[in-house]
């Protein structure tokens, strides 16, 4: 049950008066004792949620308050992580690209989604885009360069690859489908040079541009390493929080500094900001990619979701046209594209509401939350 009361005390009183439930606080329980008896409830005070075991009368009383809009009541579900992960991967064998689509689109159930991101503005902050690529020619692309005098045209390839993953076409000219949200409105901000280097100033200017253009989603496959114990940057956190308030969700990669299983590096800047969604990478067997960083730092330094990030086929500047890339750089635009599908499906899903909806759109994986967050992102069906 999702509580709408502003304080723990108010929520506890509502549940007690409405249904006579006795409440405990989750912070008082050890994990091994996370049980509730009939007529009792457990309040997760930091989440604004309560788990309740009400009799039929109590449940009816709460349902009444649900209809009044005072709370959201949902039956508890049982999840079995390993089976669900296998279901996502089909027969449990590693996925592979087919003539129809890349393995990443299969793993995230994009192909069966009725949504294409129509009417949703997605900004890609990267090395630009090959605007004359046959898969983007004829597509309305709004673009601007924040990388000095450099044009938007991609002189590196990384930007075209990321834009392709998030927003590539339904039917590419000469490749299987690789794009998540083919009908999204594509906004391209070039913030990195041809060597794929940039600065905070360029990136922040790109974020500001995306917010001003009312983009619902910003995908920025960039980062810089941080140390264990480092705090998140206040400037980016403020930028991201204000963007959320304006209806723009920022998505960034967890980073690629790990060398699993020997070493795990913390989620990088700027994905380590609480208001920026951090994305880890998984392979074709849905195992954590060996380079994918983990949630080692508190206060925003955790991984939120995982997405495909190894051997990801997508667009490449002419004349090559197509390439394959690996990295959390590839995972972040998967999540951005799926955010566009969710935003199309629910017109109220913008800003913090889109972030919340995205964090419910996953299938659990048999891996630590430190490494994959909630689980593997899934397209709305």
């Amino acid at each position: 049950m999702l509580l709408k009361e502003p304080t723990v005390r108010a929520a506890a009183e509502l549940l007690h008066h409405a249904a006579g439930l006795r409440l405990g606080l989750s912070s008082d329980f050890r994990a091994s004792r996370l049980r509730i008896a009939p007529g009792e409830g457990l309040l997760f005070e930091r989440l604004g949620l309560a788990l309740l075991d009400g009799d039929p009368d109590q449940t009816r009383a709460l349902a009444h308050r649900h209809r009044e809009g005072a709370l959201l009541l949902e039956p508890e579900r049982y999840v079995r992580a390993a089976e669900l992960a296998v279901a996502a991967a089909g027969d449990g064998l590693p996925l592979s690209d087919t003539r129809a689509a890349t393995w990443g689109l299969q793993a995230t159930r994009v192909l069966s989604s009725p949504y294409q991101g129509r009417g949703i503005r997605v900004a890609i902050l990267d090395t630009g885009l090959d605007l004359t690529h046959p898969d983007f020619a004829g597509r309305a692309v709004v673009s601007k360069s924040f990388a000095g005098e450099l044009p938007v045209d991609d002189g590196n390839g990384h930007g075209t690859l990321c834009a392709g993953i998030a927003c590539g076409p339904q039917q590419p000219a000469q490749a299987p489908r690789y794009g998540v949200a083919p009908a999204a409105d594509l906004y391209v901000a070039r913030v990195l040079d041809d060597n794929a280097d940039g600065t905070d100033g360029n990136v922040l200017a790109g974020i500001d541009w995306a917010v001003r253009n009312r983009c619902a989603i910003v995908s920025m496959s960039i980062g810089t390493p941080v140390a264990v114990g480092d705090a998140y940057p206040q400037v980016y956190e403020q930028a991201a929080a204000r963007a959320l308030d304006e209806g723009t969700l920022l998505i960034a990669p967890a980073g690629n500094s790990s060398q699993r299983p020997d070493s795990i590096a913390p989620v990088e800047h700027p994905a380590n900001c609480p208001s920026i969604l951090a994305v880890a990478a998984v392979d074709q067997g849905l195992a954590v990619a060996p380079f994918s960083n983990g949630g080692l730092n508190p206060d925003g330094g955790d991984v939120d979701l995982a997405a495909p990030g190894i051997a990801i086929a997508s667009a490449c500047p002419r004349p090559t046209l197509y390439q394959t890339g690996s990295g959390t750089s590839m995972a972040a635009p998967f999540v951005a594209g799926i955010a566009a599908l969710i935003a199309e499906a629910d017109r109220n899903a913008r800003g913090a509401a889109l972030r919340a909806a995205l964090l419910r759109a996953f299938v659990p994986l048999p891996a630590l939350a430190r490494d994959v967050g909630a689980g593997l992102v899934q397209a709305p069906q």
Partner: protein
Amino acid sequence: MRINVAIAIAEEARDRIYEVAQVCRALGFAHTSTLSDIGILIGSTDVEDLPMLRAIPGVLAVEMERSLRIAAAPGR
């Protein structure tokens, strides 16, 4: 030493961002751009002036600019 910085304007001062920028400039901040939608000023300053900039009413944080790179895996 001169460094590039980003200055975050506090929420309560957002509608005064240009006034806060003016005070920053008066204290040696070379102001190159104003990101008004996210409340941030971009520019450069002398390292020794950082404490002074941080003490300006309406300034939430002043951070040195970092370099960023793509997050492609090694050997891509």
